[in-house]
Each structure stands twice: as C-alpha cells, then as structure tokens.
C-alpha cells in the first residue's frame, strides 16, 4: 500500500511535467523525456562556456584574442630571432628565463580568463519571495509606484556599509560585490570587467590577474631590454642598417613592447597600490573609502598593514566556484522547453520574453566561434586592462562593442534605477567615463578605463540582430586595430 502511495505522486509529477513541456499528443507519460542538462547550459548570465562547462568567459572575447596574439607573436619572434644571437653572445640563460616568464604569463592569463570570477548564483524563487516579503514588511505596503531602492545597512568594523538589492539576481549583494552589466552577473569582490582577459575580475581570479599583469610587465621589459641589446650588439659588428635587414622582427618587438610597457607597468603599479590598501578598482574609483568623503571614513576591510593586505589578497584561501557549472540540473524542478544557452533562470519556470529573443543568437554562438578558428577550447585571451592599447593608436573604433571599456564600475551606481528596467542599463547620455578628477591615484593611469572622450553605447536589449551586429563590429574593429 505504501508502494502505491509512493508511485502515484511520482506518476502524477511526471505527467504534469510532460503536459507543460510538449503539445504533441503522441507522448506517453511514462518516459523521461528531459535529457540531462548541465547547469552551465541553463546559466542565466551572459557568459560563454567551453569544454562542457570547464571554461567560463564573458560574451565578447574578441579583444582577448588580440591580447593572446600579441603575446604569442612578440614572444615567438623574440625566441626565434633574438634569442639565438643573445644566447651565443651573452648567455643561454636569457631564453631560459624568457621561457619561464612566458609560460608563467600564459598560465596566469588562462587562469584569469577561464575561471569563474566569483559569480553569485541568482536567488531561487523561494528565497526571492522571502526577501520580497521581508522588504514589504519593512517598507510598509507598496502602492503601485516603484518603491525606493532597497538597501540594508550593516556595520563592518565600525564603518556603516550599505548593502544594495540587485533586481536582476534578486539578492542583497554582499559587501564589495557588484553587478556586472556586461556579464549580467553579481560578482563577489568585484574589481572590474576586463575585456583584455575576456572576463570579469573578482574575488576568485584577482590574484591570477595580478600575477598576470606583473609577470607580463617583467616579460615586456625583459624582451624590450634584450631586443635593444641585441640590436646594439649587432650594430657594432655589422652596422645598424644591416642589423635591421637581418632582424626585422626586432623592430616590431620594440614597437609593441615600448607601447605595452607604459600601460602594463602602470597598471601593475596601480594594482599593487590597490592590493596593499585592500581596495577594489570599483571602490577606488568611487572613492568609497577616501578621506575626502568624511572625517571618519576608512576602509573597514583593510588589515592595517601593507604586508598583511598583500598576503591576504595573494595568498589567502581560494574559495571554490558557487555556480557549479558542470553539475546536472535537478530534474524535479520544472524546466522550460526551449533549449537555451544561458538565458533561463534555472529552477524556475518563468522565462522572460525578452530573453527568449536571444535564444537564436546564443545557439548560433558556437558556430561563430568555430569559424573564428582561434579556439581550441584552451585559449584565454585577456590583456591587462590598460587605458591605451599597446599599439598606441586610437583605442577603439566607434563601432566597437561596449565591453571594450571597463566602465562597469560606473553602472552599479545606477543599478537601482536601471535594474528594474533590466535591459536599458545605460544610454549614450548617461554613460559617463572617468574624468581626471575621479581617476585614481596613479597619475593618468586609468585602470582598464575606457579612453576619455571615447563614446559608445551599451545596448542592453536582448536583441539578437543587434548583438550579432555588435559581434561583427568587434571583429571588424579588431581587424582595423591589427592593421595599424
């Protein structure tokens, strides 16, 4: 009898699942029709996943390929053209050290670009309902108009910190978390969104990012110094013009390294400052803990001394990913019919109509990727977020995609108002960039900031046509850049 009681609800459960999913009368209620899907396939953010969920990147990865190409080409030319001469004339340790640096740079780059930056999974419907209830109780009854931005205050180490409610993720963001509009995720300890690494930089990959830009600084200076040495030594023997004829690659390397050094070394310096004061780029730009805000304003997260701050940031424990990309979606939670890549809210039957519009795009994305033929699934591009491109030309063409600028730190300020509208985060008028007054301490160095005066718009719509054209534009933009 107990057996019967167990079987009945189960059967009813399956039958009702099938009736919501399918309209064909041919299906029998006893077959399990839902294929097992991994959670990354139902991920609601705007991320791309590769290698069956092992690799996670932002939507636009064009600039990342550029960074990878720059690093590979410059280093390759160095090893091919300059190292033979240098190892014979000076010491064979030069290519060895260069090789170690090169491997380190690539390793940290891949780590930064491929890993989960610390994305906070969105609230389950029960949680969201519970929070709404609490907020309604706190605010009193809402009367149709939109209630004021939801915040909670918490005192951390004597400093009052406001926790903001994220309308997209339906959670109160933990302190230091921020919502990245490009990836449409809340990220813990959000630093910035870096198009050069093709990912957000947050709690889980900040140390990789820092080691990447640090090692890249060393590599760039190393290559620059030794290419100059090579050219000088060779010129003494064979003359300058002959040297240029014998080793034309050296000129290219010098040019690339010269322009890279300023941005990358500057960025390393800036992030060293941030680490030693335990701040994020986001906080520094907003001046959250600056003494200009008030007399009693200080950073409650700082450990007090530089050494501890550095150790905590670089050698602290590494929390695991919270989004469990390779786990399987629970079959008992109702799933929407349309196969999507990252649009549905997992665990919920609500499917946003505007999200559905993006389905065709996301389904076609893998096709686009393979066409690019740059992605064996292991590539991770992401140059450092630098205010100027290494090539030194005009940073981005006007048609380039919005995410070529790390301007996301501005958006959380407007998230309260824009989150309700969801997909109209900014328009051209709202979008303000770092002005020189707001720029952080390192003089003139914008951390992954968009070049001042560069204008572009973020289109927050889930419009497949416009997204496609944006993608095309970014590829076109890259072609333009690389031809400089």
């Amino acid at each position: 009898m107990l057996h019967l009681r167990v079987a009945e609800p189960m059967r009813e459960c399956e039958y009702s699942q099938i009736s919501t999913r399918s309209s064909t009368p041919m299906e029998t209620p006893y077959k399990k029709r839902i294929p097992k899907r991994r959670k990354w396939q139902a991920f609601p953010g705007r991320n791309k996943f590769y290698c069956n969920g092992r690799i996670m990147m932002a939507r636009q990865t064009g600039v990342f390929y550029l960074t990878l190409v720059l690093i590979l080409v410059t280093s390759g030319l160095f090893f091919a053209f300059d190292c033979p001469f240098l190892s014979m004339q000076i010491t064979p340790a030069i290519p060895v050290i260069g090789g170690v640096l090169f491997v380190f740079v690539l390793g940290t780059l891949f780590r930064t670009s491929f890993s989960d930056p610390g994305v906070l999974p969105r609230a389950t419907p029960d949680e969201a309902a519970d929070l709404e209830r609490q907020i309604d109780v706190a605010n009193g009854s809402s009367s149709g108009y939109r209630p004021p931005p939801r915040t909670r205050e918490v005192v951390i180490n004597g400093q009052t910190v406001k926790l903001k409610y994220c309308f997209t993720c339906k959670i109160f963001r933990p302190p230091r978390a921020s919502h990245c509009s490009l990836c449409d995720n809340c990220v813990e300890r959000f630093d910035h969104h870096c198009p050069w690494v093709g990912n957000c930089v947050g709690k889980r990959n900040y140390r990789f990012f820092y080691m990447f830009i640090l090692s890249l600084s060393f590599l760039t200076i190393f290559i620059f110094a030794f290419v100059i040495t090579h050219v000088i030594l060779r010129s003494h023997r064979y003359g300058f013009l002959n040297t240029l004829k014998d080793s034309p690659a050296s000129v290219l390397e010098v040019v690339v390294c010269f322009f890279s050094v300023w941005s990358i070394v500057g960025l390393s310096g800036f992030h060293t400052y941030l680490i030693s004061s335990n701040q994020t780029t986001n906080e520094d730009i907003k001046g959250s803990w600056s003494s200009k805000r008030g007399k009693g304003n200080y950073n409650p997260y700082s450990y007090g001394n530089i050494f501890t701050n550095c150790c905590a940031a670089l050698c602290g424990p590494l929390p695991p990913s919270l989004i469990d990309r390779r786990g399987f979606v629970q079959l008992d939670t109702p799933q929407p019919i349309t196969p999507t890549n990252g649009i549905t809210m997992y665990g919920s039957t609500q499917s946003q109509s505007h999200m559905a519009a993006a389905t065709p795009l996301l389904q076609s994305e893998p096709v686009i990727l393979t066409d690019e033929a740059f992605l064996p699934g292991r590539t991770s591009l992401g140059g450092p977020c630098s205010g100027a491109l290494p090539l030194g030309g005009h940073p981005t063409p006007p048609t380039s995609t919005p995410n070529l600028s790390c301007d996301n730190d501005m958006l959380p300020l407007r998230n309260e108002q824009s989150d309700g509208l969801r997909h109209h985060h900014t328009d051209g008028g709202h979008h303000h960039f770092l002005t020189p007054e707001e720029a952080p301490s390192p003089p003139g160095m914008l951390p992954c900031g968009s070049p001042l005066g560069h204008s572009h718009t973020i289109q927050g719509f889930y419009n497949p046509a416009s997204q496609d054209s944006l993608h095309e534009d970014s590829v076109r933009g890259l072609v333009k850049l690389s031809s400089v």
Partner: protein, 155 residues
C-alpha cells in the same frame, strides 16, 4: 511525525522554508546569523539550532582563515603558475566537504526527526541556510518537492 530522511523523501509536504541570512558584521567572511527564526519556534529547541549554526560558522572561519597553511598553499600555487590547482584540492574545498558531511549528519540525527531539513549553503550560493519545514504526513503530495532531493543530494 517523520522518523528519518527516507520518510521525508517519500511523503514530501513542504509547509514553508525559512532562510537564515548571512551576517556581514565581520566583513565579507562567511558567517550566518545566529538569530533563531520564529517560524521554527515550535519545531526545534533554540540551543540545538544555534549550535548547528555556530558550528557551521566555525567551519567556514576555518576554511577562510588567512594563516600559515593558506600562505603555503598560495605560494606553492604561484610558484607552479597555478597549474597545481588542476590536480590539487584546495583547503577550502576540503572544508566544504566536511561541512556537507556535518549537515548530512545533523539532518539525519536532529532535523529530520523534527520534520525539518537543512540545505547546504553552498547549494544556495553561500547566501542562506535554507531550512525546509515539513508538515505532518497526511497532506496532499502536490506541493513542490524540489527541495527534498536538492537538500539531500550532495555535490
């Protein structure tokens, strides 16, 4: 009255879910509020519940401790260009496994007999401890049973 997890699974009749939120008063470290929710008032003793939450907080503090072992792990990882993470489990992950085991044990011994079920916070993005409150057996089986299996399944 439920006597074990099996019975809970077979006759799910979820009444409500109670969420224990994070306590950010000590910064961004993972800590849950030890406030005893009123909805659980009749179902479980306050001390038992608070002990569970306090133990969880201790575990999380251990995982996030910035000290000798984490420095060693960090330096070793850096020296190998972080390739070592491909084959090694971090300390945090080990502690999370311990926490899963602890929650499973607490569910079996304390919560299931009282018609409650704890969900591992890691399955809720470390935002909340979700406590599912079940009604006594006899109600219809049409209420969502999603939480039962998700609460029990281990990652």
């Amino acid at each position: 009255m439920f006597h074990n997890l099996q019975e809970l699974r077979q006759s799910p009749s979820l009444a409500t879910k109670v969420f224990i939120q994070r306590d950010y008063s000590e910064g961004t470290v993972c800590r849950f509020q030890i406030k005893f929710p009123s909805e659980l008032g009749s179902r479980i003793e306050r001390t038992l519940f608070e002990d569970t939450v306090k133990t969880l907080n201790t575990y999380y503090a251990e995982a996030e401790k910035v000290g000798g072992q984490s420095y060693m792990e960090g330096c070793l990882a850096c020296a190998t260009a972080y390739f070592i993470f491909l084959c090694m489990e971090t300390r945090y992950e080990k502690v999370l496994k311990k926490i899963s085991g602890y929650i499973q044990e607490q569910n079996e011994k304390i919560y299931a007999p009282r018609g409650l079920l704890l969900t591992d916070p890691v399955e809720r993005g470390m935002r909340v401890i979700e406590v599912s409150v079940f009604e006594d057996r006899g109600s219809s089986g049409s209420s969502p049973s999603s939480n039962v299996s998700s609460g029990i399944s281990q990652r």
